[in-house]
Symmetry: C2
């Protein structure tokens, strides 16, 4: 499976003891995967890791060097298990500092129910950028970004609102895709997929057995950034598959 050429890449790090202990099912990585895909960003890694500073630091460091964008989700509240900012700071070898701008915002927004401890949410890695968004997506509560690492909250509804602040800066060229359904099983068509993979190395081709469908046994996906090349690869494979094709989407 080749990765589309020139696509900006991303990693998603879910900082989620609650996911690892099966208390909640992670909704954030499926959401981010889908939205990033729509924006033309190719996610190459998803990890769920515990709320441990050293582990977060290690995995953020690895991801920030390997990919264009890194998104963390979770661990940015005011309690003892909120250690994402410390982990991201460690990944960049910088200290955690208090943002005066964020402190002001928190004191204003939380005025009627303010607790000193809430100010932990004003802590950022030194040199962090605060992204407030633009136009309709503007928010008084920014996304904290350090370099190419964006720290998003764990609560799904808030994560979605915060992600909106980042859309403009993430938009890349889009992906194109085709899906071919085969009534023959994988064993029977594997050599035809091989031929297509060899002839179109710039197109990602996936093969997924569907066991419980009446009209097909395998779903074959083709993805690429060059639409004419994608069409050519799909036409090529449909030609090879012949009568095995039940439909093309």
């Amino acid at each position: 499976m080749v990765s589309p050429v020139n696509a900006p890449t991303a990693a998603i790090l879910v900082i989620g003891e609650e996911v690892l202990t099966a208390k909640v099912v992670d909704e954030n990585s499926p959401y981010l995967l889908k939205e990033l895909r729509k924006l033309g960003v190719s996610t190459r890694r998803v990890e769920v890791i515990p709320d441990v500073v050293e582990i977060i630091a290690d995995r953020v460091r690895s991801a920030r060097l390997a990919f264009d964008h890194v998104f963390t989700s979770g661990g940015v509240g005011p309690t003892h298990d909120d250690v994402t900012i410390a982990g991201v700071a460690a990944a960049f070898d910088v200290p955690v500092v208090r943002s005066q701008a964020m402190e002001k915002t928190i004191r204003e927004l939380c005025a009627k129910d303010f607790h000193e401890r809430d100010l932990r949410m004003a802590d950022v890695p030194e040199g962090a950028e605060l992204i407030y968004g633009e136009g309709v997506h503007q928010s008084p509560w920014p996304v904290t970004a350090k370099g190419n690492v964006y720290c998003l909250p764990g609560v799904p509804s808030i994560l979605r609102r915060k992600f909106a602040l980042l859309r403009d800066r993430l938009t890349a060229s889009p992906f194109f895709g085709r899906v071919i359904y085969s009534r023959e099983g994988e064993g029977a068509i594997a050599h035809l997929l091989d031929q297509t993979v060899a002839a179109y190395p710039d197109i990602s081709i996936g093969s997924y057995p569907h066991l419980d469908r009446l009209d097909h046994k395998v779903m074959i996906t083709l993805d690429g950034r060059d639409e004419p090349r994608l069409e050519a690869a799909a036409t090529h494979l449909v030609g090879l598959l012949g009568n095995a094709v039940t439909r093309v989407e």
Copy 2:
């Protein structure tokens, strides 16, 4: 957040180009997280990675050294994108060899629709164990295990059947858990959680804001393997929280 003492640990590696490209939402890691938890196994890492031999090898190597059990899902069929076995073999620095037993099984089970290519599914890392299960969970089609790495298929219904073959060997001592709901927000109770974390370092304590509930603002979870210690920690925290507690589960 501390990990429960003496719990066997696990990592889950989803080998899933289709998940990374947002074609399907991963059902396998939520299933495995839940089932492992029930068996008393503490999962400390989940990763979704692409169908690339070098990446699979690297991540399997890292996980097999760091955790007691490693489960891979996906990439074990007969097509070009099924490279999990090659990745696992590379992680152990052994070659891929054809299992005579598996070849015989495939020729029998696939007799009426056999393709030479199906025999790729008889390929295993050298020295692999074939696990057929016992009693009601017996299956003619085994799970391939190399050392502490279990290779499961990507199709969710088959993964579940295959995981059943492994249950007996995974069972550990169980976890115990309590959930406390607080009508006060995280900022107001964070110092009380800190006190409890300090007094009960062997109990995992999590704090999760719920924004849309009428009767509480925060869900607090306590987990441990020693039931009396867990009860003591819960009683301690309920005492500190006082009127903030809306209910305990």
